[in-house]
């Protein structure tokens, strides 16, 4: 029987070498133990890191756990390796990403309809960054691709699932603005 402390150490090792967040089920399978044990091990690991004031922290993103460095050391890492910063996305790319996040699966045409401007290059940028991916192709003429957000997107936004995205309704312009817009356009 492996002790909780040992489990925590093994989890630490796995998260250290993992290339992406590792799910509870995956850890349970590897450790040949129950998910409750995994949860306890992760808690113990977290407490241990906290206790020794480590610059590493376990975060839960994209449906799994992963080891990250703490925000406080970010600037030092940047100086250590220029590649640590991936570069910010343009406003246009962010808009396209938001549309895909909420409307997925969605085609380039549908994105352009919302933005009123062709968004092909922004879609390519997002695809190259691995934030979105092609889910399927429509059988309509031209076989347009339908895009969805990737697991990396969840991780980059720091959420576990799409359900944790801020509700879109919160971002519809306030009713006063909508009314004045309508008043502008409704000629009666």
């Amino acid at each position: 029987m492996v002790s909780d402390a040992d489990l925590a150490r093994i989890v630490e090792a796995i998260l250290f070498v993992a290339e992406e967040p590792v799910s509870r089920a995956e850890l349970a399978e590897v450790l040949e133990t129950g998910v409750e044990d995994v949860d306890r091990a992760v808690s113990a690991l977290r407490a241990g890191l906290e206790e020794r004031n480590s610059s590493l922290v376990v975060r839960e993103t994209a449906g799994g756990w992963r080891l990250y460095t703490r925000p406080e050391v970010r600037s030092h890492l940047e100086r250590f390796a220029a590649t640590a910063s991936s570069g910010r996305l343009s406003g246009a790319a962010m808009e396209v990403l938001s549309i895909i996040a909420y409307q997925q699966p969605v085609s380039k045409g549908q994105i352009a309809e919302i933005r009123g401007v062709d968004s092909g290059s922004a879609v390519r940028t997002l695809e190259r960054r691995g934030l979105i991916q092609e889910r399927e192709r429509l059988s309509t003429p031209g076989n347009p691709a339908l895009y969805e957000t990737s697991r990396l997107f969840l991780e980059k936004v720091g959420i576990n699932s799409l359900a944790e995205l801020p509700p879109l309704a919160d971002h519809v312009p306030p009713s006063a603005v909508v009314e004045s817009l309508e008043e502008t356009f409704r000629a009666e």
Binding site: R115, G116, H171, E183
Partner: protein, 255 residues
């Protein structure tokens, strides 16, 4: 006509398309939340498009479409009654207007939520993770490793070095090469008889390319010794062979 039209500075296209432009124009007016004068809005929109054309920027069909909807709406407002419009046209205009409104609202909504998501990404980006996974060559051993000691290693090395430095054995190759010397003798005999000949005729009796090569080498050798005179008028042209000094004993290197 409508007093002063505020012309916006569009030195560079800072708006990202027709909807964005419309939104910017509206926002410029809407410092407090009140309805914007549609007439002003339309005039400004058209002014920008005009400016774009002057600056040689691409005015896409989307710009034109929105502009035409705006013009229709403006015309509709300036007309005292709707008598001039057919019912169908009226409905079409209403539909087009509502579509434009809906798109404007969707555009604003996504711009807003994009800012929030960008902020969250900025927050999450402060946490850094390792991007390389486990190093597999380190984690896995070769399946079978033969038992090895220093003597065995020395023996292997000796075998390999001996094999590498050994003279290549060519006995297995078929060295049925035609004799250049024979070819030289044959050439001397025939050239002296025919006085002048084409090389192609001289080798006409041969069967294999290697024989032609032997005759060619023989020809070169004879030319070197001055026994024959060789001429060729240009690239790939026929080689003409003529006998020069007939009686000369050749000490050929081909012997």
């Amino acid at each position: 006509m409508m007093g002063t039209v505020k012309t916006h500075e569009v030195k560079t296209a800072v708006f990202e398309g027709p909807l964005d432009l419309l939104l910017q124009l509206i926002t410029n007016h809407q410092l407090e939340i009140t309805a914007v004068s549609l007439v002003d809005l339309v005039d400004e929109y058209l002014a920008v498009i005009e400016e774009m054309e002057r600056l040689d920027l691409e005015v896409t069909s989307e710009f034109v479409l929105i502009a035409s909807t705006l013009i229709q709406l403006k015309a509709r407002r300036l007309l005292p009654t709707s008598d001039g419009l057919e019912l169908d046209e009226e409905l079409e205009l209403i539909e087009e207007r509502d579509r434009l409104l809906a798109r404007l609202l969707a555009c604003v909504t996504f711009k807003d939520v994009a800012a929030v998501i960008a902020h969250r990404m900025g927050q999450a980006d402060r946490y850094v993770s390792r991007s390389a996974g486990i190093d597999f060559p380190v984690s896995t051993r070769p399946d079978t490793l033969p038992p090895l000691d220093a003597n065995r290693l020395a023996q292997l090395a000796t075998e390999l070095l001996e094999a590498a430095t050994a003279e290549p054995d060519l006995d297995h190759l078929d060295f049925d090469l035609p004799s250049v010397t024979d070819a030289m003798a044959d050439l001397r005999k025939r050239v002296s008889e025919e006085v002048e000949a084409d090389f192609s005729d001289l080798v006409a009796h041969t069967g294999r390319p290697v024989e032609v090569i032997a005759y060619f080498l023989a020809l070169l050798e004879l030319a070197r010794w001055g026994v024959v005179e060789v001429t060729q008028n240009g690239w790939l042209a026929e080689i003409r062979v003529k006998a020069a000094v007939v009686d000369l004993t050749i000490d050929s290197e081909w012997e």
